[in-house]
Amino acid sequence: MDELSPPILTALWVVPLVVAWLWRPRQQATLSAWLLLAAFGALGAWALWFGLYAQPGEPQGLVFWKPTILYWTLAAILIVSPLLGGGYPAKIILGTYFALSTREWRWLNRGFAALYTLLGGANLWVSSDASYKDWVGFKYGCLMNLLIIVLFRLNFVWLPILADVAIYFYRRATAAYRAVANLF
């Protein structure tokens, strides 16, 4: 990735987003979805700017706050959205494919909110009280949460999509093969 220039990396990110925009489901998005989109749009723009274009320009000391900012932003959305009647953001995070009851979604949302609040606080506490090495270890330990969500989604969301896509291409390939075979 080091060889790729920032504009190329930006394009590699933006082009799929354009595709996503073009292929977006034509249905009403909930407030929670918009809130998450807005938050991640801002966080993403920040990451893009300071990650690629103005790396040394990031405010001093922010590095210790970054995980907390993300966790608490997510926690805030998870708490505020249901209060505003915007639905449960946990549903967006986990995916809309699971048929859970509203009660189950509510508790799941609360669980996520509590977890992210705690993680944000824990990050600040570890960064101030523990060594830098321990803090880095803690940060990567927290990424395990992310991994669990990824695995969960991989199993229940990505694989079915992949199956659909694979079946689509398989059918196309067999049809093409038959068409070519008929030529001879």
Partner: protein, 429 residues
């Protein structure tokens, strides 16, 4: 002895029976064995000369001299061949001594027409035999076996044993089906005035009682090797001690070890420790031959069938007039009253081929079937009640909502989701 003394083109002297001598010139053929090198004899195109290697010690050369002289003086009486096959050489037996500067250096023997013959080894594989121009069927194989047994019977009558009897040392005339045995100067000979041992052995054809020790009874060894060759000829090259371990207890990986332990799986009574190779067709052999094989491989020493017994048993099948070999519905010759071994073999091989094709087809379609199964599971659209029950069981913890968006829409959402993940990773790492 200096090597220059035996240059190929040097003049040599042939000493025929009756001490008649003849001068001749040798030309190298490029063929060489363990004991000596083969030369053409210019004056006698029907003969070949075997000249012992220069490294042969004087004592060995002396021994060879006596042995070859005895062999020339005492040729065995071989089975009669019809007059039109008079040029068939059944034994590469010495016919003249060869001397150079009055010293014994080798012997002359009748030339075997290599273009009319093939190694018996090739007959163990039908495809290989066909490539060599020999269309092997049971009629021919039984005849070859009969001819081999007959020659060995003649040799044993003269108290001569081959000892290192193996397919590589036997040539078969493609059209006439007579066999020719090579390396006669390595035979074991016992005569009143003379005795010559044969130390050379091949473990795959060595009787169990002679493993790790000298061959005390050369004729018993020949009986074992002959039975092994006949078994292989009739059973598509499968060695009588090739098998599959039935109890997984110390089954020797090499044939020699299995012979030593007597692990013969093709007997009329099944061996408890070893099973037959699935491709074997020994069950299509007549009872008389199966009994001989059982005696050859399940007993020791002179209890094994003699070459004469083999010749007797095979003779009735080798004779076209006897009618003991009959064609099956597909035209293959087989032992009368027995199933056709060639058809059995075809069915076994063909069956394996069909199973292999079916397996490959299943492997090739596995990804598509897996994807179809996964999709049906996720959408809960299994038509089979069993699969539906299985699918419901697997996902009882998480109930999936029916898909309400298109695949494109789902991909769009996932792009956003993965972007979110990357952003999260950047902020938390």
């Amino acid at each position: 002895m200096p090597s220059a003394e035996r240059k190929p083109d040097h003049l040599v002297e042939l000493t025929w029976p009756g001490r008649r001598t003849q001068l001749a010139t040798l030309t190298a053929t490029g063929k060489s064995g363990g004991a000596g090198e083969i030369f053409e004899i210019d004056a006698n195109p029907g003969l070949l000369a075997k000249i012992y290697h220069t490294a042969t010690t004087q004592a060995h050369l002396e021994h060879y001299h006596h042995k070859i002289q005895w062999m020339i003086d005492n040729p065995p009486e071989l089975p009669q061949v019809p007059a039109e096959y008079a040029d068939v050489v059944q034994l590469a037996w010495p016919v003249a001594l060869i001397r150079r500067q009055s010293r014994f250096v080798g012997f002359a023997m009748r030339k075997i027409a290599f273009d009319r013959t093939l190694e018996l080894d090739y007959l163990l594989n039908r495809r290989q035999a066909a490539l060599e121009g020999f269309d092997a069927d049971y009629g021919k194989l039984v005849t070859v076996s009969f001819n081999l047994a007959s020659i060995i019977h003649c040799l044993h009558d003269k108290r001569i044993a081959i000892v290192d009897l193996k397919p590589m040392n036997v040539k078969v005339y493609k059209a006439e089906l007579y066999v020719s045995i090579l390396d006669c100067d390595g035979f074991h000979i016992v005569a009143d005035e003379f005795r010559s041992d044969a130390p050379q052995v091949t473990p795959e054809y060595l009787a169990p009682e002679f493993h790790d020790k000298a061959v005390a009874h050369p004729q018993a060894q020949d009986r074992f090797a002959l039975a092994t060759i006949i078994f292989r000829l009739l059973n598509f090259g499968i060695h009588p001690f090739a098998g599959i371990s039935a109890d997984h207890r110390n089954y020797p990986p090499e044939l020699a070890g299995r012979i030593k332990q007597g692990l013969y799986p093709y007997g009329k009574l099944a061996h408890k420790s070893v099973r037959k190779v699935p491709a074997s067709v020994h069950e299509a052999f007549p009872e008389s031959l199966r009994e001989l094989f059982d005696r050859a491989f399940a007993s020791t020493g002179f209890s094994r069938p003699s070459p004469h017994e083999w010749a007797d048993a095979l003779g009735i099948y080798a004779s076209k007039q006897s009618g003991y070999l009959t064609p099956c519905s597909k035209g293959h010759l087989h032992f009368a009253g027995q199933p056709c071994p060639t058809c059995m073999r075809d069915a076994l091989i063909h069956g394996a081929h069909i199973r292999r094709r079916s397996f490959l087809a299943r492997v090739q379609t596995a990804p598509a079937r897996t994807l179809r199964y996964m999709r049906k599971t996720l959408r809960q659209t299994h038509s089979s009640p069993f699969q539906a029950a299985l699918a419901q069981k697997s996902f009882a913890v998480v109930q999936l909502a029916p898909a309400t968006i298109s695949t494109r829409g789902a991909i769009a959402l996932e792009i956003l989701w993965i972007s979110g993940l990357l952003i999260t990773f950047w902020w938390t790492s």
